[in-house]
């Protein structure tokens, strides 16, 4: 089985020769708790030559993982338990954001950046920023589109903030929950090499939403082509982060189920982007028809300005 695993990781990363160099790192025991295989997997994708800091970080990650295992043993009703989910420094958060915006082909976001230290700071505040960015940008965009029209009276449209908040937070928490449940269920049927904890999935989804923040700001530009180009571009970037994270987790499964899972992930992500664009941003260059004016002899006259 070691050779099979080595083959899989050679596919997954270019530095296959390094893997062959330390065969002891590929042993996996099915009986061990989930934490241990992840520890070993964390070491594997790092090529030693060009990314020395990643390798050094890996050593730290071993220590931090042991420590993290000790830290997370605080009972869930104490405040210290929740502090373990905010155990990140500024540079770590910035690194994770950078990793979500510039996905490196072949590098798994969870393995490379999260390394068994999932945080809730990033997902929560990225979602909060995204909510307000979409609401404010949508409002600004509508203002510029309808500027100059005599029938237009500016309203701040504050209702949309609550709608945006509900949508985005529901997406960022319920979809990871569903995905985690699904992966756990498939894990019980098919032995997958890679498995993620719920918080790691929440983390990946949260950080993958970051690219939509500058996209939402750029959506103020009232050109349809520009908006659709932006949607496609950001969808490709964040979708690729998600796909590269979850493909190793489902590839051992039935081919159709694996493809369906990854396809659903991308589809939901696309739905979120397109839905936000459609709901919060009025379509540009569309004139609202003037309301029907009933003529005095009973026939109705509809005027439409082009």
């Amino acid at each position: 089985i070691a050779s099979l695993i080595m083959y899989l990781f050679a596919e997954f990363d270019d530095a296959a020769n390094l893997l062959a160099a330390n065969p002891d790192a590929t042993t996996i025991s099915i009986d061990e708790p989930v934490e241990i295989p992840k520890n070993q997997h964390g070491r594997l994708p790092e090529p030693g030559r060009e990314e020395d800091d990643e390798l050094l970080g890996t050593d730290d990650s071993d220590k931090t993982e042991l420590l993290a295992g000790q830290k997370k043993s605080a009972p869930f009703w104490t405040f210290e338990y929740y502090q373990t989910f905010f155990d990140v420094d500024t540079y770590q958060v910035l690194d994770r954001i950078k990793g979500s915006v510039f996905p490196v082909p072949g590098k798994n976001f969870v393995r490379l950046y999260i390394r068994s230290n999932p945080d809730l700071y990033g997902p929560f505040w990225i979602c909060a920023t995204l909510v307000f960015t979409i609401a404010v940008s949508g409002n600004l965009s509508n203002f510029f589109i309808h500027l100059g029209k005599p029938t237009y009276h500016y309203v701040p449209e504050f209702r949309k903030v609550s709608i945006a908040a509900t949508t985005i937070y529901a997406y960022a928490w319920l979809v990871p929950l569903a995905l985690w449940g699904f992966l756990m269920w498939r894990n019980s049927k098919v032995m997958n090499i890679v498995s993620y904890s719920f918080l790691e999935i929440v983390c990946v989804y949260g950080y993958s939403l970051f690219i939509y923040i500058p996209t939402a700001i750029l959506w103020i530009i009232p050109q349809k082509v520009v908006r659709w180009v932006l949607v496609t571009f950001s969808l490709c970037l964040s979708g690729s982060v998600l796909v590269m994270t979850f493909w190793p987790a489902v590839r051992d499964d039935n081919r159709r189920i694996a493809l369906a899972t990854v396809g659903t992930i991308v589809l939901l992500h696309a739905l979120l982007a397109v839905g936000c664009l459609a709901y919060f941003f009025d379509a540009p260059e569309v004139d609202f028809p003037v309301p029907i004016i009933p003529a005095h002899n009973g026939t109705t006259v509809i005027t439409k300005s082009q």
Binding site: F79, Y82, Q83, F85, F86, V88, D89, T90, Y91, V93, Y121, W125, A128, T129, F132, V136, N139, H153, Y154, V155, P156, E157, F158, R159
Partner: protein
């Protein structure tokens, strides 16, 4: 010890002595007993404390008075007045578009609670109510901005008034953020300061946005 067996205390021996504690003879006790003072003194003391904190917010120095004696009267007054001023004025228009009173209230208080929780979870050493107090008091510049905006809107609502309002709101937003950062940043671990300051920035940005987009009917 046979003689001791005969010793017994009978109930008819009276126990005498003084068990009352003398009151009023220690001078520090008199300072804590505020029950006898006139009501005016009590109210004036609290008002002076609130006023002193307002002055501290407008001229932020790194003083610990704002942190040590926290109170939530100031934030409540500021929040209520800001929410009242953000009402559109025409009560019968349903689609006002602006935030309702309850929405402003919830955003300010819930936002302050979330930011406080965030800073505590990141390892901050400030207490919960002290942080709420600082965040609430630092809404004062934005309340002043709201007042100025309403006065400017009385004069007119064209481009010039918009530019004036924009400048005022941006200046007050910067003042609020800097004031609250000056008070709160010291209690954070040094490599997480930016993680704590950013939500404060977002909080005041949202309030500034609500003030700037206020349009009376």
């Amino acid at each position: 010890f046979s003689g001791l067996a005969d010793v017994s205390i009978t109930e008819d021996i009276p126990v005498e002595g003084e068990i009352t504690v003398p009151v009023g003879s220690h001078s520090p006790d008199e300072d804590f007993s505020t029950l006898d003072e006139p009501v005016r003194d009590t109210i004036m003391r609290d008002l002076k404390a609130v006023g002193k904190k307002f002055v501290h917010v407008m001229y932020p120095k790194k003083s610990s008075a704002l942190l040590r004696d926290w109170d939530l009267w100031g934030p409540l007054v500021l929040c209520v007045s800001l929410a009242l001023m953000l009402q559109g004025g025409s009560a019968d228009s349903k689609d006002d578009g602006g935030p309702q009173f309850a929405e402003v209230f919830v955003i300010i208080w819930f936002g302050a609670v979330v930011i406080t929780l965030n800073s505590k979870l990141l390892g901050g050493t400030i207490s919960f109510f002290q942080s709420l107090c600082v965040l609430g008091y630092c809404v004062l510049p934005l309340t002043v901005a709201m007042l100025v905006c309403r006065l400017v809107l009385l004069a007119g609502s064209g481009t010039v008034s918009f530019v004036i309002r924009l400048i005022v709101v941006v200046a007050m937003f910067g003042w609020s953020t800097l004031a609250s950062t000056a008070f709160l940043a010291d209690s954070q671990p040094p490599n997480r300061k930016a993680l704590v300051v950013y939500p404060i920035f977002l909080f005041y940005f949202v309030i500034s946005w609500m003030i700037l987009t206020f349009t009376p009917q």
